[in-house]
């Protein structure tokens, strides 16, 4: 019986690697796989060629790192050519890792056969927007706020209503823990379990309770610093003034 390896590229006789390699050769021939000498992890590295309508090429040097949980966990793409400033404002970590999206809104489709190609297509547009940023001086198109702000924006979008968001802030900071059969903090005369509990649980699951609590405590701290937040725990009343 074949032992199942911890290395993703060795599992199932390397079927996923063989499949991915065939796709990469056809669509992104500037990239090739290599096994890191020390970590023994597999890397995909090389260059992407980007062109506009004029056909003038732009070469972007990248490296893609895969965890052992690949394809269930998304790979990390790193811009190694230092073509762009590796700063948070440009959605890069200091080591050049690209922040393509907010984790709860990840577009990684590891379960799909061509998930890696879709991922690389997103990377191409990410780098195209970086090139545009160099010309126009701002990052084009929508983007999430940095750090905790991004998660707060995500929650606001999920709730879709500023009034509801304000009412549920103490729930996310865990200052308020309504029971399933209590009235929903949003103010509607409905039980919490029939009102916003499913949405709150979904957000907690997507973001993670620790990150959520930290993001909201940071949000309240900033609001308090501006003097536009008040929460009375005993009366379960809160108010945020934007």
């Amino acid at each position: 019986m074949r032992m199942n390896s911890n290395r993703w590229h060795e599992r199932d006789g390397g079927a996923r690697l063989t499949h991915d390699r065939a796709l990469i050769v056809e669509r992104y021939p500037g990239l090739s796989y290599r096994i890191h000498a020390v970590s023994k992890r597999i890397l995909l590295e090389g260059h992407l060629i980007l062109r506009g309508d004029s056909g003038v090429p732009e070469r972007i040097e990248i490296r893609i790192e895969f965890s052992d949980q690949y394809p269930f966990q998304e790979p990390t793409i790193i811009e190694v050519g230092k073509r762009f400033p590796h700063i948070v404002d440009r959605h890069f970590h200091a080591n050049g890792a690209c922040c393509l999206w907010l984790p709860p809104k990840s577009r990684w489709k590891g379960h799909e056969p061509d998930g890696l190609l879709s991922f690389l297509d997103e990377a191409v547009l990410f780098f195209d927007r970086q090139l545009i940023c160099d010309v126009v001086g701002y990052f084009p198109g929508p983007q999430w706020g940095q750090g905790y702000e991004g998660y707060i924006e995500y929650v606001q979008e999920q709730l879709g209503n500023d009034r509801v968001f304000v009412a549920l802030v103490p729930v996310f900071t865990t200052d308020l823990n309504p029971g399933r059969n209590d009235l929903c903090p949003c103010g509607k005369s409905r039980k919490y379990k029939h009102c916003h509990l499913p949405t709150v649980e979904s957000i907690r699951r997507e973001v993670g309770p620790e990150m959520l609590r930290a993001a909201f405590r940071d949000f309240v701290r900033r609001a308090l610093a501006k003097g536009n937040y008040a929460y009375n725990k005993s009366e379960r009343s809160e108010q945020i003034f934007y």
């Binding site: 992407l48 506009g52 309508d53 732009e58 959605h91 922040c99 907010l102 010309v135 198109g141 750090g147």
Partner: protein, 146 residues
């Protein structure tokens, strides 16, 4: 043009091109003996374009007022009148920069078209569906301090 020239002639790396443009009626023909013919272009507009080019420095594009007046606004903003070149001049204007500025609006408007070719990925604000391009609304990037 300069990028293509330098790709074909690496020894001309230090060469900077100046371009002059005018608009008008010209006579275009080929002159010479069989198999040794040169293409020629005659007319006042040709002379004026050549004068603009001669008064411009390397990396400049000089255009006359009639050309400037006919430019769309997003292109006209790149040109300013130069008293030395005696025409409207854009300095180090590159087609890629113009394309990218147009694509910035496309990203803000929802997305762009991506097409894979043998020579790389082509990103465009125009629909080239005849060439198997696909429309993609890109993900919203995010970042946090590590």
């Amino acid at each position: 043009m300069e990028i293509t020239l330098k790709e074909c002639l690496p020894e001309a790396d230090a060469l900077r091109l100046a371009i002059g443009v005018d608009l008008g009626t010209t006579l275009v023909s080929k002159l010479g003996t069989r198999a040794h013919r040169d293409r020629i272009c005659l007319g006042a507009a040709v002379e004026e374009a050549a004068a603009c080019e001669e008064r411009s420095q390397g990396g400049w594009i000089g255009i006359t007022k009639i050309v400037y007046d006919g430019l769309p606004e997003e292109l006209a903003t790149h040109f300013q009148y130069s008293s030395t070149a005696k025409c409207y001049v854009a300095k180090d204007l590159q087609v890629t920069n113009i394309e990218r500025a147009k694509r910035a609006a496309a990203y803000a408007g929802g997305g762009v078209f991506l097409q894979h070719t043998e020579r790389g990925a082509v990103v465009s604000d125009r629909d080239n569906s005849a060439n198997n391009s696909i429309f993609i609304t890109p993900a919203r990037p995010y970042a946090h301090e590590q």
